[in-house]
């Protein structure tokens, strides 16, 4: 079972969740069905963008640039960054916080830019949703890769803020990606006696290492 999980990570859902951040425009909040429609609509946009690349209508640089440009406008970076910092967000130095936010976003963009081409041809079907609270939904879906690959259930945490709907986390086979990031980031900061810049340094090193490959 863990083998199936590990084989499914980080894709397709890991990749698709971050691309959703990047390519999904703000949507008006209403209810769970709106959240399902939001995920379904944005999934189709992702699939269409990847298909256009696959068919040669756009090149990889254009696809990546489009992805990168939209992340800053459309991702709820402040909320996700606050989440992955956990308890260390409270009382954090504003400058250290801003620096971490920029580097964390760059790291995430870089990771998923590299994965873009691997997931062309995937399809996503929304299968239902769970309403946790008003403005807090978990949308269920299945990602299909075709070619005899098993279907992968993926669930999307959709939150509403200021009447805008955005995906903040994704679950693949029981593993929530932002929660996994939080454990890593808070582990580094905790070992550095609460110094956020330790996590910023590690992320920078990872970015440089990935760029050198």
């Amino acid at each position: 079972m863990l083998n199936r999980l590990l084989a499914a990570l980080p894709a397709p859902a890991l990749f698709l969740s971050l691309v959703f951040f990047a390519l999904s425009p703000a949507a008006e909040a209403s209810d769970a069905r709106a959240a399902e429609a939001f995920v379904e609509r944005e999934a189709q946009r992702v699939i269409d963008a990847l298909q256009a690349w696959r068919e040669g209508e756009v090149d990889m640089d254009t696809l990546r640039r489009d992805f990168r440009d939209r992340v800053d406008d459309l991702a709820d970076v402040e909320r996700i960054t606050g989440f992955v910092l956990g308890r260390y967000r409270r009382g954090a130095d504003p400058q250290a916080l801003e620096e971490f936010s920029e580097v964390f976003r760059e790291f995430a963009i870089q990771v998923y830019e590299r994965e873009l081409g691997h997931y062309a041809g995937q399809t996503l079907s929304v299968t239902g949703s769970v309403t946790r609270n008003s403005g807090d939904y978990v949308v269920r879906s299945v990602v299909r890769g075709g070619n005899g690959e098993p279907d992968v259930p993926v669930n999307w945490r959709v939150l509403v803020r200021d009447n805008e709907m955005k995906v903040v986390d994704a679950e693949v086979m029981g593993v929530w990606l932002a929660q996994t990031q939080r454990e890593q980031i808070t582990g580094i900061i905790g070992n550095a006696r609460g110094d956020i810049s330790a996590a910023t340094r590690v992320l920078r090193e990872r970015i440089e290492r990935n760029n050198s490959r």
Binding site: M1, L2, N3, L5, L6, A7, L9, P10, A11, L14, R79, I80, G82, F83, F107, V111, R114, E115, H118, V130, R132, V138, N155, R157, L159, V168, D169, M173, G174, V175, W176, Q179, T180, Q181, E183, Q184, I185, G187, I188, G190, N191, A199, V202, L203, R206, N210, R213
Partner: protein
């Protein structure tokens, strides 16, 4: 958990055993930690676990990874699929036994049906005829059986070659060898056949994980913590059954 909780039981009083006990004690003490972060994460053996993970990754780079790639490149996909089906079918008695222990007779019956159909019609399980017949496939183990009956997972462990685990699941691994068919065939259990089965299983799993190893290397901020988090969340979700998501954290 305190450092005292990491101490092994005293050894018997022969020189060789005393020496071995001393070695094991030294290793375990070295591998324990009082780091609050680690203890909070129920990972008191984090130094030892990290060292074991490093060893596993080094072994993968040096031997297992190259062997798996040679296997992938040398054996056609259909052949690898047949081997994978055979190994999966061989594990069905383990799944059956654990489904019974978990009080899931309907799924146990389906598992028995799959095993019988694939063994007879599927030529020893090489062909997954049961999936063609749309008989659902289930997967569980004794670690989940223990969890089903309320046994806590215990501290996180990284096992040599086998990877992430915990006290409960490691115990489960040991127990699951008994209902496995390889244990009941004397020639297979006592000869080299069992190692051939194990080696094939390792290669089969490793081929499946090729992309994952590459992606983990690129996407993880701390690969050790990422693997620990992934393992724990996955195992917890397998125990929880139908999810209603009432335990998710706040994002504000």
């Amino acid at each position: 958990m305190t450092r005292a909780a990491c101490l092994p039981r005293p050894a018997r009083s022969t020189p060789a055993r005393l020496g071995l006990a001393g070695l094991v004690t030294g290793l375990v003490l070295t591998g324990c930690t009082t780091n609050p972060q680690s203890l909070e994460a129920n990972d008191p053996f984090e130094p030892l676990n990290r060292a074991t993970l490093s060893f596993n990754l080094a072994a993968d780079r040096a031997v297992i990874g190259p062997a798996a790639r040679a296997y992938r490149d040398g054996v056609p996909r259909t052949g690898r699929k047949g081997i994978s089906n055979f190994l999966t079918n061989l594990n069905q008695p383990v799944v059956f036994a654990n489904l019974i222990l978990q009080g899931r007779p309907g799924e146990a019956f389906q598992t028995a049906g799959r095993f019988a159909l694939n063994t007879v019609v599927g030529i020893g399980g090489v062909f997954d005829v049961a999936s063609e017949a749309e008989i659902p496939r289930h997967d569980t183990d004794f670690g989940l059986t223990l969890g089903h009956w309320g046994v806590e997972s215990g501290p996180y462990l990284v096992l040599p070659f086998l990877g992430p685990s915990n006290f409960r699941d490691a115990t489960g691994r040991f127990v699951d060898r008994y209902p496995h068919p390889t244990y009941w065939v004397d020639d297979l259990r006592d000869g080299s056949g069992i190692w051939i089965v194990r080696a094939k299983t390792v290669l089969d799993v490793r081929v499946e994980l090729e992309e994952t190893f590459r992606s983990l290397d690129q996407s993880a901020v701390d690969p050790y913590i990422q693997l620990r988090s992934v393992y724990r969340q996955n195992r917890a979700s397998l125990l929880s059954g139908e999810r209603i998501y009432d335990d998710l954290p706040d994002f504000d």
